[in-house]
Assembly symmetry: C2
Homo-oligomer: 332 residues x 2
DNA sequence: TTGTATGCGTTATCAA
DNA sequence: TTGATAACGCATACAA
């Protein structure tokens, strides 16, 4: 844009203060004056400079979001819910992917300087920097991370879901399990899932790590795993994408799912419903995580709430056909 | 952040001008002075205010992106390429989804005030507003839209790919076709695809519109279509998601693909490879579209290039198994 | 009801 | 080599 409040003021024959008041309704303005101002605004096609407003107001009216990668539906879904609510609250969303970036710290600091608050996934941001951000008073909300002081955290329930899933599978009569996508480093969500199923299944489950949580990695690891003479009866995957890979591997090996081997996922991404066979999984409310994060951030920023809050959203076991035969299979 | 350049200056015993110069290397600073400044910066943990910098520099160092929706892999992939290159060029990315939004114009104007340039998908933005943005000198790049004056446009080739696809299908011996996801309003890409296959296939193809370009809509429309007594031998879909829906519909109706009916998609999203049967489709370089858009915008913003450019990226026919039996079927 | 003047945090010009 | 100081575009306390 180009035209400033001064030109509007001059054209309307008033001061810039009056223009500002007329536009924001932040003080008394005579009806006739307001009209003149509005007319000038219209004629000049004036839009207040975001920079000027932000500088004067001392806020950006923008939220940031930091994720490792946007490939795959999980982060996208969360982002969707986040952006929707943020926009509703009058805030823009500035994104930052850390995948393959060097100098992540600088990028995040820059981002922090552009927004009023940050949504951060898991352990995307190095711990020392998190501490620094907290110290600087940056409003923070984390998704899928253990609680920490000075920031909100938002998670999905994992342990109980893991038990429910394990029990459903033992109900099918399975006795030998594998957990595909086992955590190498501690990735909070996956870690909880793994510990949950292991607690329920005891020694009957074997951990099989993947390099990443992607279809391809799931495919590779499952192919290796299923090639063994003594393959597991059921593969519990860390997430739906890994599970999708496992499904493909089974098919390539000529194995029937769930006849020869059962497979389950986690998250309930859209493709889970469309997979053949349809994937049994644990539904995680991804969009709601994003939406809640936006609201939580808003509370923190506006000061509606001062003390951090740590929320755990509940999940739901979604039984489809990849985990075994059911009397009445749920339709996709 | 909180500490300003004034505090640094005071601590270092110099003026703010010197601090600025020392930090940006934009003028002569004695070595000893620089050291004192840097030390003060370090001790106070000073980071220049983005707002101050932007106001003084007259630029945001940020790009915007406007898309209808982020659900589905297409926009996500483009966004990924866009953000990556933008970040490489030192620019943040501010996103805006128009899906389900009222007052889209205001949102877009606000966004335009936050960034140095905008990437816009197809006809997401109302034409009058586009004209206004052009008039205001906002740098614009469009993806998937016919060329217009005053902005860059970036597209994938559609017509020739359509012909190649049509010829491949007639090579299978099919004679009755349907185009699923036919354009209701003019949606540029889909429109070109439809016109392309119609030109190649003539009267042998029937247009079947869907409400949206989603799996669900594809499913519904395909179920209806395949329920008829005289169903087509091959369904050419507007895009992969619609095609995925068609695959599901066929399965639900007990129809074999490609035995009873052939199905093809467009885009080559990740799920296309993993579909059963694997989807024959036209690959579109989605990430590269995003990456190129970011570079084009940068050229426009820095002034490296003044005149708009209209680019068409080439596509590739990807033959898998959903379109018919091949002597040596390509592995997924 | 309106106007003046100041602050917001930089960069950059021009003197010194 | 350094320092005052004027932009940059707005909001707002305070005065009139």
């Amino acid at each position: 844009m180009d035209v400033t409040i001064y030109e509007v003021a001059k054209r309307a024959g008033v001061s810039i203060a009056t223009v500002s008041r007329a536009l924001r309704g932040t003080g008394p303005v005579a009806a006739r004056t307001r009209e003149r101002v509005l007319k000038a605004v219209e004629e000049l096609n004036f839009t207040p400079s975001r920079l000027g407003v932000s500088l004067a107001e001392g806020r950006h009216a923008a939220n940031g979001i930091v994720f490792p990668d946007l490939a795959g539906p999980y982060y996208t879904e969360v982002l969707l819910g986040y952006e929707e609510v943020a926009s509703e609250l009058g805030r823009s969303v500035v994104i930052l992917s850390t995948k393959g970036r060097t100098k992540v710290n600088d990028l995040i600091k820059d981002l922090a300087g552009r927004v009023d608050g940050l949504l951060i996934f898991g352990h995307t941001v190095p711990e020392p920097l998190v501490a620094e951000l907290v110290r600087l008073g940056v409003r923070l909300v984390f998704i899928s991370r253990e609680p920490l002081p000075g920031a909100d955290t938002l998670r999905s329930e994992n342990t109980a879901s893991a038990r429910a899933l394990a029990e459903h599978l033992t109900g099918h009569g399975y006795e030998r399990f594998a957990f595909l996508g086992a955590p190498l480093a501690s990735q909070d969500d996956v870690d909880e899932r793994w510990r949950g199923v292991r607690a329920a299944l005891g020694g009957a489950i074997e951990a099989v790590p993947t390099r990443h949580y992607t279809v391809d990695c799931g495919f590779d690891a499952a192919k290796e795993l299923l090639g063994h003479r003594t393959r597991p009866e059921a593969i519990i995957c860390s997430d739906d994408e890994v599970a999708l890979g496992a499904l493909l591997a089974a098919e390539e090996l000529g194995l029937d799912v769930p006849g020869d081997v059962a497979v389950t996922g986690w998250d309930d991404i859209m493709a889970a419903r469309h997979a053949r066979p349809a994937l049994t999984t644990v539904r995680q409310p991804m969009r709601e995580l994003g939406a809640r994060a936006a609201r939580a951030l808003d509370e923190l920023i506006t000061g509606a709430r001062a003390t951090p809050r740590h929320l755990i959203l509940s999940t739901e076991l979604v039984v489809r056909s990849s985990c075994g035969y059911h009397p009445r299979a749920e339709s996709p």
